[in-house]
């Protein structure tokens, strides 16, 4: 009797070169060099988009110069992740959420740390804790920590 082979297993690996574009390149440079978060201001509605990009509501151009926003703001939503899966930024349990930084109108996704998980509440004010060594990516910020 010919055996029925039930499955075929392999790993598929595809390398990519992803281009950031001018605004995003500058955004990460500012994070690395100045420990400052920058956004783009819509010329029509005046709202500030962070990370910088076009205004999806107005479809109008944004101002040529990026605008710095504060590295602190309100925690709009948060979750404590207990579920493990590949590619996570940290080993569970860890907290991450959406922060509306002072001066911006969109949410900024990042980790929340330096505090016991039970104390984390939606609506609290949080501030970025920057790493001394920075390479120009989101992890230049270690996490956002609640402000007393």
């Amino acid at each position: 009797m010919t055996e029925i082979i039930e499955n075929v297993q392999h790993t598929w690996h595809v390398p990519y070169h992803w281009s950031f574009g001018e605004m995003t390149t500058k955004f990460f440079e500012y994070m690395k060099n100045e420990k400052t978060i920058y956004g783009a201001k819509c010329t029509a509605c005046g709202k500030v988009i962070v990370p910088p990009g076009g205004c999806a509501i107005c479809m109008a151009p944004v101002e040529k110069e990026l605008i710095p926003v504060k590295d602190e703001g309100i925690l709009d939503s948060v979750t404590i992740v207990n579920l493990p899966y590949p590619g996570q930024p940290a080993t569970p349990p860890y907290a991450y959420g959406y922060i509306i930084l002072d001066g911006s109108n969109t949410f900024f996704m990042h980790m929340v740390g330096g505090v016991e998980h039970e104390k984390i509440k939606v609506g609290m004010r949080v501030k970025a804790v920057w790493n001394e060594e920075r390479s120009g990516d989101f992890y230049d910020i270690k996490y956002f920590q609640p402000v007393e």
């Binding site: 010919t2 055996e3 029925i4 082979i5 039930e6 499955n7 075929v8 297993q9 392999h10 790993t11 598929w12 690996h13 595809v14 390398p15 990519y16 070169h17 992803w18 281009s19 950031f20 574009g21 001018e22 995003t24 390149t25 990460f28 590949p86 120009g136």
Partner: protein
Amino acid sequence: MSRILDWDITVPYKWTTGSVIGKFLGGLKEHNILGAKCPACKKVFVPPQDLCPDCYVDLGEDDFVDVKNEGKVISFTKVEQDFFGKKPSEEYLNSRISPASVDEHPLLWPPEVPYAIVMVQLTGADTAMVHLVKGKDMDKLAVGGQVKAVFKDETIGHIMDIECFEVIS
């Protein structure tokens, strides 16, 4: 000047074969090439499919027939250019797919260039199958020529249980 991020998408998979492809692969494990014969139009498909696309009739385990391990070259091309670049190390792959591992999910990667892709209509089959010809045999390849399957000593039930095809004439 736009910054470029060099990264990759690396994912392990376990693809289900089903009983028809499963039986074909089982045949390869035994150094046999099997085809599936449509009960309606009698065409023999190698490799087999779960159904006959012309008649829209199911093909099943009972529709299998033996075909010869050799056949006619319908077409071929010699691949000179490497498209895939540097092969990632096992260590790197394991770090990306953990807890899965490369032992159970070997990297899917083409052979080293140059190699030839050949379409062979095995004797007894009505369709052509795609496989490889390597080394000096590549220079002897011609449309209409005969080639024969060379099986590996260790077979697992995989299309690459056939190491490659060699040119007979």
